[in-house]
Amino acid sequence: MSNIIEAHGVSKSYGGVKANTDISLTVKKGGITGLIGPNGSGKTTMFNSIVGYHPIDEGSIKFEGQEISKMLVPEIARLGLLRTFQQTRIYSQMNCVENMLISMPHRKMSLMDAFRRNTKADTDKAEHLLEFVGLYEKRYLQAGSLSFGQQKLLEFAMALMNEPTVLLLDEPTAGINPTLINGLIDRLKRANTEFGITLFIIEHNMRVIMNMADHIYCLAHGQMLAEGTPAEIQDDQRVIDAYLGAH
């Protein structure tokens, strides 16, 4: 498998605080890669660096071989590198289907396509994906009236609608009812296998990430602590120490 994201020596500090120091990681095309670490270890900072929310101090980030560390958020998103937010962001004034239709892959559209109306096929696809995440019954409700967990699922469905090459998920299971987590894991895996979307996931829930990822990176204090297969990470004494707070 080839590498689709290659980050090399990325550093980022906020004022005097070093949020990321010399981080290098790769995401394999077609796989599921995990990023774990205790609170404040710099996971979300790393995500934001990749998708272009802030400038990085040092290092390079490549997507499909192209340097993206100087590009702006919309430009990176248009390459097919998509992210979901830790605090869910959906268009709360619109209903679910409208939310889905807005998430059509505009980067694949010409300007003339944009001046067309959505076709029956588009609506069908939207409804199919809503069914896939289990929101079909609620498809005509205003998105703002959904519960937090449902909004999260909607955001996930919107990301799938966009047909990204890589999807960066920031804590997809946070705030989701534990009984639904298994269902979500299953859907994430299916998104990976059926739709062929490469996933890069920040996750707090160890059980979840160990179940899904082929390869895991662990951050602590803004530095790369360990990497390896789930089994290797599970047995790594440094990771266990980091999570239990020992030094």
Binding site: P74, R78, G80, I90, Q93, I102, H106, L141
Partner: protein, 344 residues
């Protein structure tokens, strides 16, 4: 569906018949259509896209000047024309006048659209209040600069060619030009908001960061929307130029605190981000303004300032917003009902 068609045809019939039924109100109705055009065009960016411009009057003023320059420049040197200012050296034949009018209106629209395409990428990096203040600055600066350009008549302004028509017929012609623009703009918007493009600018309004993160070409869509709106405002400006015969830069063309703010107030009064809101708002505002104008004994402008404040503070959602709140089902909004939630 068929009911709607009957409504639209009836409205169109009224529009066409109005200047003949109420000939003494033709000028009033023409200005009403001007208000509808600029309000609807403002709503394209302000209401549908969430970019509240205080300087759309820039396109109106630029449209006036562009219309004048295109129409006059077809046959004469503009500098000499403004030098001679109103003396009868230059005259237009009827044919020249109508050709100039058509070229002026279309040219002004296109020119303003082009302006928006050029300045859009600069201004759309500004968000929220900065965009509003930046565009306001643009309109004020343009007025001040134009009033210093002698070629365009400087602070004295510019005179348009005299119409070959009898004033009464000229009024009707102007009415139909404004009304035509208004009808075309309305139909365009009705279609435009139903496309993917329309959905995309709504997404930008609701959460631009999300829209960016979803890979929507935000800058492209914003600039094009502004340009389309500028085409209509610019064309309306050119029609105004022909209507007014003589206009000057600060009070008429770049009238920041009159029409520039009225268009925003019209939209707020009717309801932002709705198709009918700007139309209804423009009618309410214009009728209110005209009816009460004579009762304020010189204090009209104070009253208008007060009206703006009152509308903004107490009635910002407008008529359509109020209806949406009270009767969401009319707008096709569904909210999970309480009892259903309790059952689930």
């Amino acid at each position: 569906m068929s009911k709607n068609w009957i409504l639209y045809i009836a409205l169109l019939a009224i529009t066409v018949a109005a200047p003949f039924l109420f000939p003494s109100y033709t000028a009033f109705l023409a200005t009403l259509w001007l208000f509808i055009v600029v309000a609807q065009a403002w709503d394209m960016t302000g209401g549908q896209m969430g970019y509240n411009s205080l300087g759309n009057i820039f396109f109106y003023g630029t449209g006036m000047y562009a219309g004048a320059v295109f129409a006059i420049g077809l046959y004469y040197n503009v500098g000499e024309w403004t030098d001679a200012s109103r003396s009868e050296i230059f005259s237009f034949t009827a044919g020249q006048y109508y050709t100039g009018m058509v070229v002026g209106i279309i040219g002004a629209g296109l020119f303003c659209g082009l302006c928006a395409l050029i300045i859009g990428p600069l201004f759309f990096g500004l968000r929220g209040p900065y965009f509003a203040i930046g565009t306001l600055g643009l309109a004020i600066a343009a007025g001040e600069i134009v009033s210093n350009i002698e070629w365009l008549g400087g602070g004295q302004g510019i005179s348009m060619p005299h119409s070959p028509l009898h004033p009464d017929f000229e009024k009707v012609l102007i009415y139909f030009l404004f009304a035509g623009l208004g009808v075309v703009l309305f139909i365009f918007c009705k279609w435009f908001y139903s496309t993917r493009f329309g959905a995309a600018i709504n997404a930008i309004r609701d959460d631009e960061e999300k829209a960016e993160a979803m890979g929507i070409h935000t800058l492209r869509y914003k600039t094009i929307t502004w340009a389309i709106s500028a085409v209509f405002v610019g064309a309306a400006g050119a029609v105004s130029a022909f209507q007014l015969i003589h206009f000057e830069p600060l009070e008429t063309a770049y009238q920041t605190i009159n029409l520039g703010i009225f268009m925003v107030v019209c939209v707020l009064l009717g309801g932002k981000g709705t198709l009918w809101g700007p139309v209804i708002g423009a009618i309410l505002f214009h009728v209110f303004k005209e009816v009460t104008w004579n009762y304020f004994l010189g204090g009209q402008w104070v009253a208008l300032g007060l009206l703006i404040v009152i509308i903004v503070v107490f009635f910002q959602d407008g008529l359509m917003g109020y209806l949406k709140h009270r009767r969401p089902e009319w707008f096709g909004i569904k909210v999970e009902s309480k009892d259903k939630e309790a059952a689930a």
